[in-house]
């Protein structure tokens, strides 16, 4: 596999990252695999859950991205009224931070009930509504994660979701959170129900590249 991305003539392609020049098929594969080619939204990992799972873990996260984008689709639980939550890890998943989270989010239902939720002493981020176990009582959300891999800054999130909750009602939720207990690198995080297990769901983690 070539690591020398060569030139046909003296005119360089107007690009500041590594892939200037004429590229072989192997070069393209190499560059895309390492996140140097292929547009700015880079799929890091996808996990498709089809049976009872205590946690969905994303680990071995590199420091390539300042902003990560997570999608959680059609999430179901085996426990009525449970929430999809998130914890971060600074030791690649050997342990997870279980206290010191701050969050604030706003939610409302199609029936017209709107509420605020907040905490400065939480054990995790909450990123879904209270999901149900009946058919089609599923959660869908996206999460922007800032500074996950930066040891000088707190990890913060924004999220926005739309669920059919345990009462059968539509519920939206948006908000954010920070883990301010330590400014540290988080090289893993896990998603889990605050009660019971995840039974289904598709989870995709993207890095937002600078090319």
């Amino acid at each position: 596999m070539s690591n020398e991305y060569g030139y046909v003539d003296v005119s360089n392609i107007n690009q500041t990252k590594q892939n200037a020049g004429v590229l072989t098929v192997d070069d393209l594969y190499d560059l895309q695999s390492n996140g140097h080619l292929g547009g700015s939204l880079q799929l890091i990992e996808e996990q498709d859950i089809t049976s009872s799972t205590s946690a969905v873990i994303f680990d071995n996260l590199s420091s390539n991205y300042e902003v990560h984008f997570l999608t959680c689709m059609n999430v179901t639980s085996d426990t009525d009224g449970s929430y999809l939550t998130m914890q971060v890890s600074n030791d690649n998943g050997s342990s997870y931070r279980t206290s010191g989270y701050h969050y604030a989010h706003f939610h409302g239902t199609g029936g017209g009930t709107f509420s605020e939720s907040r905490s400065t002493t939480a054990g995790q981020f909450f990123i879904s509504g209270n999901l149900g176990t009946a058919a089609n009582e599923k959660g869908n959300t996206y999460v922007y994660i800032y500074n996950l891999s930066n040891s000088s800054f707190y990890t913060s999130i924004n999220h926005h979701g739309s669920d059919v909750i345990a009462t059968g009602a539509l519920r939206f939720m948006w908000g954010g959170g920070t883990y301010p207990a330590n400014a540290e690198t988080h090289d893993a995080f896990k998603l889990f129900m605050n009660s019971g297990s995840i039974t289904e769901g598709n989870f995709k983690l993207f890095g937002i590249k600078e090319l």
């Binding site: 300042e66 706003f106 605020e116 930066n150 948006w174």
Partner: protein, 172 residues
């Protein structure tokens, strides 16, 4: 190849205002702008706001309307709603501790279309060491003119120690 296309990255230090110009063109109808870890020189309970820059390089300072929800982890939420303003409200920043970090994602719709207004959607999150709380914002805004918009200007009443902006186009 993903639909998100990187356009530019701009950083600056010791400034009260940063304009990122010549980034919105007819190439895309929708743009994504990230503001990463703005670090203020001083200030508690303040906002990083933004304005649009025309394709001719003029910062537009009138005719904005916006509505934003401010969500605090330790207190009741609030909203900020205004019409006929000189800016759009963005990132609720409450501390100049550099570790507070945070980020903001804006989606900009139809900036160069001179048949319609330019719309924005904002979401941001950060921590305020000074106030011991997470603050998140979610909002919408519009520039109620049909100027062709070519860029964006972030500003604050005090200096940014550092500011970092990335712009992406969304390919259709």
């Amino acid at each position: 190849m993903s639909a998100l296309r990187f356009i530019s990255e701009t950083t600056a230090t010791s400034t009260s205002s940063l304009s990122v110009t010549d980034v919105f063109t007819s190439d895309f109808s929708v743009y994504k702008v990230e503001l990463i870890r703005p670090d203020l020189n001083t200030g508690t309970g303040t906002y990083v706001d933004f304005r649009f820059v025309t394709s001719d390089g003029i910062v537009v300072s009138t005719d904005y309307g916006y509505g934003i929800e401010v969500m605090n982890s330790n207190a009741g939420f609030g909203s900020d709603l205004n019409a006929n303003q000189g800016y759009m409200r963005g990132f609720r920043y409450s501390s100049n501790s550099s570790a507070d970090g945070g980020g903001m994602v804006l989606w900009i719709f139809e900036p160069t279309n001179t048949s319609t207004y330019t719309f924005a959607r904002v979401q941001a999150g950060s921590y305020s060491t000074a106030e011991s709380k997470n603050v998140s914002t979610k909002g919408i805004g519009v520039l109620q003119t049909t100027d062709s918009i070519g860029g964006i200007n972030f500003f604050h009443t005090n200096n940014f120690d550092s500011i970092h902006v990335k712009v992406y186009g969304l390919r259709q």
